[in-house]
């Protein structure tokens, strides 16, 4: 099976996962096939994003617990020092002068609120002032005790994406492989396609683009486009469909698919039920790869196996590509 991990490893990316070592503690053998073995790390790479999410969940739970423990202990120690209960101490800390009319007037003026909001504004300002006193008190205890929390979140993993049979373009031995999980009907996927095209133009010999389908729910046109693209792939014309659909103006229409299918002499866009069912089941397998890679909706981007969220914008994507290119050039001498 052709895997991105194998590719990135052989190209010597700096952040590639380490090669399996004979370490029964850190990386135990979890299965044997005759003399061959499967190690835990090998299995984990395929579901790295899912594992990462769970590690983040654990990290979050532990961090919250640590923060709560720190606060509890600080408050308990201070209350003991003062010879009162924690609650009595906090009540005392929160007590103070209530807000005056001038404060309320200023708030109403600043927020363009009428007189009918006066009492609610007073409640809010009073409540906030009490909370500010408590927060400042706790911060003071933390500073005095020189609290330091040594918990690091788990690093973003490098995902081993199954690329078997996926359409790709660019050198097979490119330094950087960008996997785009996209929907051919979708505006954000179109945007990502344009980002990838721009970096491919700049580094034609160093970047390989791979496309995997992922769909939005109830996107019938997206589903038809994906089926059409799979049909095109059988005739080695996937990228014609990809580029034509992503370079169109406006929303995708049924007639766009019909025209494209006829031009490229592909299967009918709306085939008979039996053929459609067969194609859908095949597509389902591809969508499972997206899900397993941690992508549940378009677009999803991986640069040498590292996730880049579309929400951070083009600059973050290009920065990730630059990092990958730099890593590969740093490692190149050692490869030779």
């Amino acid at each position: 099976m052709r895997r991105l991990f194998a590719l990135s490893l052989c190209l010597g990316c700096t952040q590639a996962p380490p090669a399996p070592v004979d370490d029964p503690v850190e990386d135990p053998v979890v299965a044997r096939i005759g003399d061959a073995v499967i190690r835990r790390s090998e299995a984990e790479r395929g579901v790295a994003m899912e594992i990462h999410r769970r590690r983040l969940d654990i990290h979050t739970l532990v961090r919250r617990e640590v923060e709560a423990l720190v606060e509890q202990r600080l408050l308990a120690a201070e209350a003991e020092r003062r010879g009162v209960t924690v609650q009595a101490m906090l009540d005392d800390v929160e007590r103070g002068e209530p807000v005056d009319d001038a404060d309320v007037d200023a708030y109403l003026l600043e927020h363009g609120l009428g007189e009918e909001r006066r009492e609610r504004a007073r409640d809010y300002l009073d409540g906030r002032r009490r909370i500010e006193r408590r927060l400042a008190f706790v911060r003071g205890l933390e500073d005095a005790a020189q609290v330091r929390i040594d918990l690091e979140p788990p690093p973003l993993p490098r995902v081993d994406i199954d690329l078997e049979g996926a359409p790709s373009r660019g050198p097979a031995d490119a330094a950087v492989t960008i996997v785009h999980f996209g929907a051919l009907s979708e505006a954000r996927s179109r945007e990502v396609a344009s980002w990838i095209e721009a970096v491919r133009q700049r580094h034609p010999k160093k970047i390989r683009e791979v496309f995997r389908h992922v769909l939005n729910p109830r996107d019938e046109l997206g589903l038809q486009a994906a089926l059409l693209a799979r049909s095109a792939q059988e005739k080695d014309r996937f990228w014609s469909v990809h580029d034509r659909l992503f370079q169109r103006d406006g929303a995708l229409r049924q007639s766009d698919l019909q025209t494209l299918g006829e031009e490229l002499e592909l299967k009918p866009v709306t085939p008979e039920a039996e053929a459609r069912t067969r194609d859908i089941v095949a597509l389902k397998g591809e969508l499972e790869i997206a899900r397993k890679s941690g992508v549940t909706s378009p677009p999803g981007i991986f640069v040498n196996g590292l996730w880049v969220s579309h929400s951070f914008g083009r600059a973050r994507f290009e920065s990730r590509v630059r990092d990958a290119l730099a890593s590969s050039s740093v490692r190149e001498p050692t490869r030779k």
Binding site: R128, L156, T296, G313
Partner: protein
Amino acid sequence: MHRGLTLTATVLGWMTMTTLAVAQTKDPRLQPKRLSSVGDSITEAINAEEYNLFNPINPNHWASYANGYRGFWEWLLGRTNVNSHNQRITSAFGSSNRKNYMEGVSGADSYDLLPQMQQSVAHQATYVPVLMGHNDVCQNDFTDIPTDAEFEANLRAGLEALRTGLPNGATIYVLAIVDIYKLWELGEDLTSLGLINCQVIWAATLFDIYPCGTMLSPTNSEADRQYTRSRNLAFNQILEDVVAEYEANDPHHHYSFTDETFLYDFTPSQVSGFDCFHPSAQGQKDLSRVTWEAGPFGQ
């Protein structure tokens, strides 16, 4: 949409007169086959696992903790099976005569309890899970948050509609408002970890579409967010107290409350990867599990 206080002397009179009259006996509990959920965007499972750029209010009803189901698209896309109350009811009580109504609407707040619960009555529901109040604490301005008296009056108005209109033996199950401070906190985590830029998303969508400046505004201080959380807590106390009162006084219906929804420790995988605020399908799945197990049919 806001209506005035509706607490009436009639209701108070009924409460006083029946407190002693209701002994330990209640009408037998009906099977929860006619489900009618009351709530807001969380009940609608907005952006739980699916998102539409052109419609940022994207209900994922299939992923609702209350009404969720599994159809063709959910199978094709390998969506999370939330094992909702609806699915659990079919498993436990059979599929005959099942009804699965969702009265919940995104943006609804306590002022919508009455109209939604009137819909539950119109549907002659035998099981009404209620998860409402997030949009009472989520407001543009802190002074938009209702007072305790207003919130309580809205709740009583809705419960009165249920008391007088639901079939005898029906169950009303009120869930505490989720701790939205925890959801905000997770958005911060997701951004700092580089998984998704929540601040950008909140700025681009949430402030226009699901206003929650009282928690999500970047200008908020920690004290502001803690103040909003204090209103979250106060409303939950009202929910608990009023539900207990109805349970004690209404011999014909069964009322329960759980604070599991508030206490639940949401983690990054349980918050929407699209809006960084609503529970994800995994979050909905856990909401379904904890609320079902803590509820009247979970034992």
